[in-house]
Amino acid sequence: MNETELVEAARNGDQEAFHSLVKQYQAQVAATVIGMLGRGPEAEDIGQETFLRFYKALPRFRGDAKVGTYLTRIAVNLCINEIRRRQRRRRFYFSNGESKMTNAPDRKVSNNPGESRNLVQQGLKKLAPKFRSVLVLRLIDGYSTRETAEILRLPTGTVLSRLARAQEKFKRILDKGDGHENM
């Protein structure tokens, strides 16, 4: 069955059809969620929540956006909510006298893919959600600038501006080991 048929079957209650959609898109959702949040139990939880929300929204899904685009949009919004929740929690702990962990990433770019991935993750975590999301969608998920704008519901010019600023900030984070959160 093609994507349209799978969606229609899932809408009519075919659980196996929805299971096929999950298998088809889990890698894409994982790339987005882990790019935004890093690896961890919350990432898997957000990934599951993404598909759960899509399932609930099936009757309203008209197919004017591709399934992948729709899922990515849900995932990005959930990730941004999670980032804000973490920030509130961190502010609460810091206001109670806990010292801030600078946790600056190592400046060296390693040849080891695992270490490089960690380095990128640490760098991305230092970016504010609005900059992190454009980098993740454009460079990790591989969406075009226009698709990124469509997912985030922003003008293309805004996406281009944020991409430039995000890359500049990311470069400073890696070059100088800047440990400040959410620049």
């Binding site: 990934g47 399932y55 309203r60 990128v120 990311f170």
Partner: protein, 140 residues
């Protein structure tokens, strides 16, 4: 944090097709400025690093866990249709109520501006009707 104009152009060149004029301007700047060329190479390397950091996915069995969670939540597509019908009716009712309220407001405003309103009838926002006219109505 401000980025200089030529650097903005450089960043944009990675994510959109530049106009001919801008493309020539950038190429000329790159040809003249070795630091800008280094910057371009650095940006390319950084972008490649980010792209290559793409994760391999969630752990094994992810799709089964998703389906289990859906089953636990008790959601079904059929039930969702009922919810959808409810939400649609609520949505329509709110819109109709808003239109209705607006129509009533416009009618009231129209009535208030009518010239032959007597002071007594202004209270009831009705045009003047005499007792004889009421008596002549077919009801009596």
């Amino acid at each position: 944090m401000k980025i200089c104009k030529i650097k903005k152009l450089l960043y944009r060149s990675f994510d959109e097709d530049l106009k001919e004029k801008d493309r020539q301007k950038l190429e000329a700047a790159l040809a003249q400025d070795p630091d800008l060329r280094k910057e371009k190479a650095h940006i390319l390397q950084q972008r490649r690093l980010i792209t290559e950091s793409r994760s391999e996915g969630f752990g094994p069995g992810f799709s089964r866990r998703v389906m289990a969670r859906i089953s636990e939540s008790g959601e079904t597509a059929v039930r969702n249709h009922i919810q959808l019908a409810y939400e649609t009716m609520t949505y329509l009712f709110r819109r109709l109520a808003l239109v209705g309220a607006l129509a009533v407001f416009l009618l009231l405003a129209l009535n208030l501006t009518m010239k032959n309103l007597s002071p007594e009838n202004e209270i009831f926002y009705a045009s003047a009707v005499t007792y004889e006219e009421i008596q002549n109505l077919p009801l009596f």
